[in-house]
């Protein structure tokens, strides 16, 4: 059994938001919904430290001339010890054996306990009827079930929670997640963390890719190579 994971190389990321927009397109995310977004941060800072220096994207942190800038693309971390899964009262959020954290759209009661419990702020609730402009469905476009459970459909019901699925329907079809495919600088690597020879495993074991908010013990399957990392692997 594979354990799917991703390594995001902050030293390559140029903050172009292609992965975020690509994710929005393939998953029919309506206006105001971002399963994936690119945050502006400081190099090698723990994101947990206090308020940001500036509320704007693409604006460096710090005071001139000591300015620093890096990007943190953020979507669901597919935690192995996932608080969202543990708090879900009805088991609508569940972990597949290959590490994907998914939401059963037919079971979720919309209590939003998982939104409160997720340390990464990546879950999005369907507050009202979705708005799309232009108003038609794009992207994957069909419903997708795994183990009989509805984990994707183009138009999600009002009153349930959604988030990054690690592109379950593509992964199950031996494709890469869409954000990995569309990244123009190859900053995203997808693969099997249980296979020690996979590129993701090498990046984690030998190149020092790290988990976000690792101290919380959520043990994500998404890893980050810090922006100081000397772009060795895929030059």
């Amino acid at each position: 059994m594979a354990r799917w994971g991703m390594v995001i190389d902050q030293s390559k990321c140029v903050g172009c938001w292609t992965c975020a927009v690509g994710c929005k397109a393939i998953n029919d995310e309506p206006l105001g919904y971002w399963w994936n977004r690119v945050l502006t941060t400081e190099p090698d800072s723990s994101a947990q430290v206090a308020a940001p220096a500036t509320p704007a994207v693409d604006v460096p942190h710090g005071t001139y001339p000591n300015l620093e800038l890096a990007y943190l693309p953020l979507a669901c971390q597919h935690c192995n010890n996932a608080p969202c899964e543990k708090v879900c009262p009805v088991g609508a959020t569940f972990r597949r054996d290959d590490g994907l954290i998914l939401i059963d759209y037919e079971r979720c009661i919309g209590c939003r306990y998982c939104v409160a419990a997720c340390p990464y702020g990546v879950r999005i609730f369907n507050w009202g009827p979705a708005k799309r402009e232009p108003n038609f469905v794009i992207g994957y476009g069909e419903e997708y079930r795994t183990g009989g459970r509805l984990v994707f459909e183009p138009v999600r019901p009002v009153g349930i929670v959604e988030k990054c699925t690690l592109c379950v329907e593509r992964v199950d079809a031996n494709e890469q997640p869409f954000c990995v495919d569309v990244c123009p600088v190859g900053a995203r690597v997808f693969g099997d963390l249980d296979d020690p020879k996979s590129e993701v495993s090498v990046l984690v074991n030998d190149e020092g890719a790290e988990q976000l908010l690792a101290e919380l013990g959520t043990n994500p399957n998404i890893f980050y190579l810090p922006s100081s990392h000397p772009n060795k692997v895929s030059d």
């Binding site: 945050l39 947990q48 509320p55 708090v87 009262p89 979720c108 209590c111 306990y113 999005i124 369907n126």
Partner: protein, 406 residues
Amino acid sequence: MVNSSVRTDLPTAPGLARSPWTWLLGVLVLLGLVAWVYELGHGLAATGMRDVVSWGMYIFTFAYLVGLSAGGLIVASSSEVFHIEALRPLARLGVLAAAVFSAAAGLMIIPDLGQPIRVLNLFIFPNWTSPLVWDVTIITIYFLFSILELWVMVRRPEKKATLTTLAFIGLPLAVLLHSITAIIFGLQMSRPWWNTALMAPIFVASAILSGTALIVLIAWILQRYNGLRIPAATWRWLAGLMVMALFVDLFFVASDYVTIAWDNIPKDRQVLDLILPGGPYQLTFWFEWVVGGVIPFVILASSKLRAKASNLALAAALILMGVYAFRIELVIPAFVNPLIQLPPGTSLGAVSTSGSFQLIGHYSPTWVEYLITLGLFALTALAISIGYRRLHLGRNIQEAAEHVAD
């Protein structure tokens, strides 16, 4: 209202139906229902909640209602377990309040659900790692237990041994209820403001505090408007319970503040700064510590002031406001600064004039939330009024009061 037909406490339904009090409550319940229908049509977009601050008035009111259900059972059980004769007149009223308020707490969750129609999933697919499932279970047990105890009290009052057994079960059950409700919040490491081992003790203390205050307020209304006479000894016990609970509650909260302030860990400190004087949520601080803290404490501590029942009622009303402020302070500020707080912020799940991200959470309830919440409070008051009459509690309080030495 003050009128002689009410004074005799006859259990006639027409008397209740004629009372303007009932009509007012009825209208409020109706308005709440209308608001809920509106919310069902528009989704939770009709509320002030969005991603970032994703829980609001329903949840802090839920926590408040759970707390209010405590006092009754504690007053009732204490009279049995600790042989406090002076509290016996209020035993039935207390258990009635426990039943009604635990049911109200359960009901408060329904409008907060995005898919209320799926609420039974909680019982069909319970996930036992979720504190919410434990809470649903304990609230259900607590409610059924209160109903059972009330039934025995009213229908089988001669079964003294059963009543004592029930009283002994009631106390730990109440403690469990509040601890589990606290744990819903306390276990979440994603919210540093909640993630303290003190959460359960705080919830138990504030539940005893607000629950007793509620009983005091009801007892005073009955004495003032229904002509019941509550013995001075009963008032003394209630005042004592309140002042103890107030002290312990604020002591726990203060311990938490001190720990956060001294450690000065940014993510904890950030939340404390929101509520301390000068912060955007300072109103909750003033209500908790002054309006519902220092002022009632002075009233209750002064032997001159606490001798008057109306002063106790005032203290109780202030305490009830203070505890409500505490529930707001607990829920909302915890969401304002997410752990990962980097530009452009968290996706809102909506497009607003300021874009679709929010860096710092904002929340203010909408009219829908106010009306639904108010409607539920009205329903609760209505249920207590009806229960009070149907169960002839007035007569029972009067009879029991005669056995209490002043």
